[in-house]
């Protein structure tokens, strides 16, 4: 089928074509009050065709796979390419010399009876409900995903990858007097047996109960420690500033800063498609370029942008294997951990803040200027120890400034579902907005 579309496109005068096909099968289950609340199953194949016409590249994405429809779309692709006014490198790739071997097990989650998955959620819900501070479990979720990706192009490249995983969590509602808090902990598994309900319930309860009774705090300037999960969330928002596209479009302050010191000397930011602790591994990007481990920032020095084929050609550099979803993104991007465990990390903080939750990252961060201002909650740090919970505060600062004032990096590297990872990070000082 894919080769037929390529042949049809070539016949229409399109110079080169690439078919990128993703077949996604999924099962999603939710239990509420010991009953199955949601059961969603799906099987969707979506196609992206990129084609070069008039030396310019255009893209069509579709789910209606009928020949008539594809024929129409290829005509649209030609018309769209023709209407582009800018001539930028348009490349369909002949392939890398070699591709790294991806050691990632596949597991057929479909072979586990559905009832076992429902029971997992029921069990998780009951175990969380057993805690006296839990008023209810707002929702539980189990999802398994099986993704097969195929890339075929007119340069003779044919690559494929297959990925299976599942995740589960429950959101508990915790209450102590008037104070209500929600808490959850997502567990991602590559094999169904990895789900440990006892541990999942414990983590959720610990998160919820410890945050109860939180108060606001006096506004001012404080040393701030971000939990590994929260600093990873912040890093994720800022991955876009390292993209060659952003450099080319004047949308990152890092333009013209290659090989310059942009962060403290102990900052190492790495993109590693095959990191053993990461949840997803890949040997090639969506354009068929081999992926490899790369320092983006090494000892605080910015080593260079993440590129797809187009931006690599514009900057006359090698593609870095970061061409994903029609643009540029990181694979497994993380801040390199150091030796200190958490207790040691916070030991010299007399009066500070430990942030375990951030809300509103899509709105409160400006990647261009580096400014962030975010609703947060967590704990006060007093005399080197975690103290009482705090909530309804705003933490504000500038990311570019913050990575130059890192006082400590923990050893607790953790990757999120997004593929971005971080250990806990201690920033010298940030502004906290709370009570007057």
């Amino acid at each position: 089928m894919y080769q037929n579309w390529i042949d049809l496109g070539l016949k229409k005068g399109i110079t080169d074509l690439e078919v990128f096909a993703v077949r996604n099968k999924s099962l999603k289950l939710s239990v509420y009050q010991n009953k199955l609340d949601q059961h969603v199953q799906s099987d969707v194949e979506s196609i992206t065709i990129r084609g070069i016409y008039d030396n310019k590249l255009s893209t069509v994405r579709f789910e209606n796979l009928s020949d008539v429809h594809v024929d129409q779309l290829l005509d649209a692709l030609k018309a769209n390419a023709k209407a582009l006014t800018v001539v930028e490198p348009a490349i369909i790739y002949e392939g890398s010399k070699s591709y790294p071997e991806v050691k990632d097990e596949l597991f057929d989650f479909g072979s586990v009876p559905v009832i076992k998955k429902i029971d997992l959620l029921k069990d998780l819900e009951q175990k969380i409900l057993a805690n006296p501070f839990v008023t209810q479990v707002q929702s539980t979720m189990y999802q398994e995903i099986d993704t097969e990706t195929t890339l075929v192009n007119s340069k003779g490249l044919h690559l494929s990858r297959h990925n299976t995983y599942a995740y589960a969590y429950a959101i508990g509602v915790f209450q102590k007097e008037e104070d209500i808090k929600t808490a959850y902990d997502i567990k991602l598994a590559k094999n169904f047996d990895e789900f440990d309900v006892v541990k999942m319930a414990e983590t959720t309860i610990t998160k919820g109960v410890s945050s109860l009774g939180g108060t606001s705090m006096t506004s001012g300037e404080y040393p701030v420690v971000f939990s590994n999960e929260m600093f990873a969330d912040i890093l994720e928002v800022f991955t876009s500033i390292f993209s060659g596209e952003a450099a080319y479009r004047n949308m990152t302050f890092l333009k013209d800063k290659v090989n310059q010191q942009i962060a403290g000397k102990d900052i190492n930011l790495i993109d590693d498609p095959l990191h053993p602790d990461a949840h997803f591994k890949t040997g090639f990007d969506d354009e068929g370029v081999a992926c490899s481990k790369r320092y983006v920032v090494e000892n605080g020095v910015f080593k260079g942008f993440n590129h797809n084929l187009k931006t690599a050609s514009i900057f006359k550099e090698e593609p870095t294997g970061n061409g994903f979803h029609g643009g540029i993104s990181t694979t497994n991007f993380y801040l390199e951990p150091q030796e200190k465990d958490f207790d040691t990390l916070i030991l010299d903080i007399k009066d500070g803040v430990y942030i375990t939750d951030l809300v509103g990252l899509h709105a409160g961060v400006k990647t261009v200027s580096g400014e962030f201002s975010l609703q947060a909650s967590g704990f006060k740090i007093k005399n080197g120890k975690i103290d009482h919970p705090i909530k309804m505060i705003v933490v504000s600062g500038n990311f570019f400034d913050a990575i130059n004032h890192v006082k400590g990096i923990g050893s607790d590297l953790k990757f999120g579902l997004s593929g971005v990872g971080s250990p806990s990070v201690y920033i010298e000082s940030l502004m906290i907005g709370g009570e007057a």
Binding site: D43, E63, V86, E221, V368, S396
Partner: protein, 461 residues
């Protein structure tokens, strides 16, 4: 797409094993995305979302399945798979009714205007932003057009199609000076075709975006404090959307996860607050003729003079709550089961004048433009970012400030609204929730909240 008799047959099959409600949702959506950067047309992409979603309900229990293989056989396979979740007696299916006409007054549909013509209009706007000031280093203009065709059929006889035509223009400017970069953007959208360019004054928007990015270069960082906040009209309505709109959705209410549970007929805000969610505002980004469950959309009164009057309810939650659905069942695509969502949500105009509200404020923040926000319905805690703000000192707008973040509690903020002006406007956004990302309007006249926690990076020693 499928024939009516085939759909009828599939619905019959669906109810054979105990389900008492079945629904088939067919979708064919075309989209086009044109991007212009600094005057150059840099990408033109086409998209297509195509598939079928099948939903079965027994009592309040629901199963859902979807596929992009739209044929009788493949949907029958989904139906058989889903109905295996239920056991019980056969429920009789009502014969499918006739389609009712939907409003289709689009003047310039996507295919009636060439990509070259569309590109020219966008290039002019991009150039206008770029040429506004020498400090503007990047000027983006983008046009996203979507034509969503849906057909909804269910076992209660509903057989309804609908076509939704959306156009949205995103304008963005990046300004740079002495190593400092600032960005500003606007994204007006309508339920319209290319005639959006006849209806909306984009030249004014382009100037505003450029001006805003340049002004931010010299703005001071907001200093964290608790203070009165004047929220400007249009996108300022995101406060009501986050703080009250989401907690009034049946998804939150039916599970008791909302501060508004059990409060119908009770005072939930100050006397001057009246608010609606309207599914059928002419030409509005958030409108639909029929919701994604095939029910005509309607104007829903939510709060009247501070008293809670209604929730937003979908079919399934209506069963749970034993209340009527409100035409609020929406979903991003066939890949989502529908649930209660907002359309065009707004605070109704009051009697105050904008100028008087500023004059009456001795010290505070004027949030002229807001970015996005978030709410956790169970706790009622919300936040939203200020994109463009000014200090109010002695009743006058003074210094521009940047990086302000507002936080609060939904149940408190409505009581703290002490001024509502008469200048109602809408702003457009994409709202993400259980059933995906959908176009919505937020709206309000300029209002004042007597006290809010404002965060910011300013005041550093």
């Amino acid at each position: 797409m499928l024939k009516k008799v085939e759909i009828q047959e599939l619905l019959n099959e669906a109810l054979m094993t105990g389900a008492d409600f079945a629904e088939i949702f067919l979708e064919d959506t075309k989209s086009s995305f044109i991007r212009v950067t600094s005057g150059d047309v840099t990408s033109i992409d086409r998209g297509n979302v195509f598939g079928a979603g099948v939903r079965l309900i027994q009592g309040v229990d629901e199963v859902y399945g979807f596929t992009n293989h739209v044929s009788y056989d493949s949907i029958l396979a989904v139906v058989k798979n889903l109905r295996a979740s239920f056991s019980g007696a056969l429920t009789k299916v009502s014969p499918l009714g006739d389609k009712k006409p939907f409003k289709d007054d689009v003047k310039k549909p996507m295919n009636s205007v060439s990509v070259e013509e569309k590109s020219k209009v966008l290039q002019a706007l991009s150039n206008q932003i770029k040429n506004y000031d020498s400090r503007i280093v990047q000027a983006l203009s983008q046009l996203l057009e979507t034509e969503q065709y849906v057909l909804i059929a269910n076992s209660e006889g509903v057989y309804q199609d609908d076509k939704r035509t959306y156009s949205r223009v995103m304008l963005a400017a990046i300004a740079q000076e002495n190593g400092l970069m600032q960005q500003a953007y606007e994204g007006p959208g309508r339920f319209m075709g290319f005639e959006i360019f006849d209806e909306v004054d984009f030249k004014t928007y382009a100037n505003e975006v450029a001006e805003s990015a340049v002004k931010l270069l010299s703005a001071e960082d907001m200093t964290a404090q608790v203070m009165p906040v004047v929220l400007h009209n249009a996108f300022g309505g995101v406060i009501f959307h986050e703080a009250c709109g989401h907690p009034l959705e049946a998804t939150a209410v039916a599970k008791g996860l909302s501060p508004f549970v059990g409060k119908l007929g009770q005072k939930v805000g100050s006397d001057i607050v009246t608010a609606y969610d309207d599914g059928d505002v002419d030409g509005a980004w958030g409108r639909l003729s029929y919701d994604d469950e095939g029910k005509p959309t309607q104007k829903n009164l939510l709060i009247e003079n501070g008293v809670l009057k209604g929730y937003l309810i979908d079919y399934r939650n209506a069963r749970k709550m034993k209340m009527e659905p409100t035409g609020s069942g929406r979903r991003q695509s066939y890949k989502f089961s529908p649930t209660s969502r907002m359309n065009s949500t707004y605070i109704a105009p009051g009697k105050d004048k904008f100028e008087d509200i500023i004059k009456d404020t001795k010290y505070g923040l004027f949030a002229k433009k807001l970015g996005g926000g978030t709410v956790v319905p169970a706790t009622g805690e919300f936040n939203f970012a200020v994109q463009e703000g000014y200090m109010i000192e002695d009743g006058k707008l003074t210094r521009p400030v940047r990086g302000a973040m507002l936080i609060g509690h939904g149940k408190d903020v409505l009581f703290k609204i002490d001024k509502v002006s008469d200048n109602l406007e809408f702003g457009q956004g994409m709202c993400g929730s259980l059933s995906g990302s959908i176009p919505v309007d937020v709206g309000q006249p300029t209002i004042r909240v007597s006290s809010m926690t404002v965060g910011g990076a300013g005041g550093k020693k």
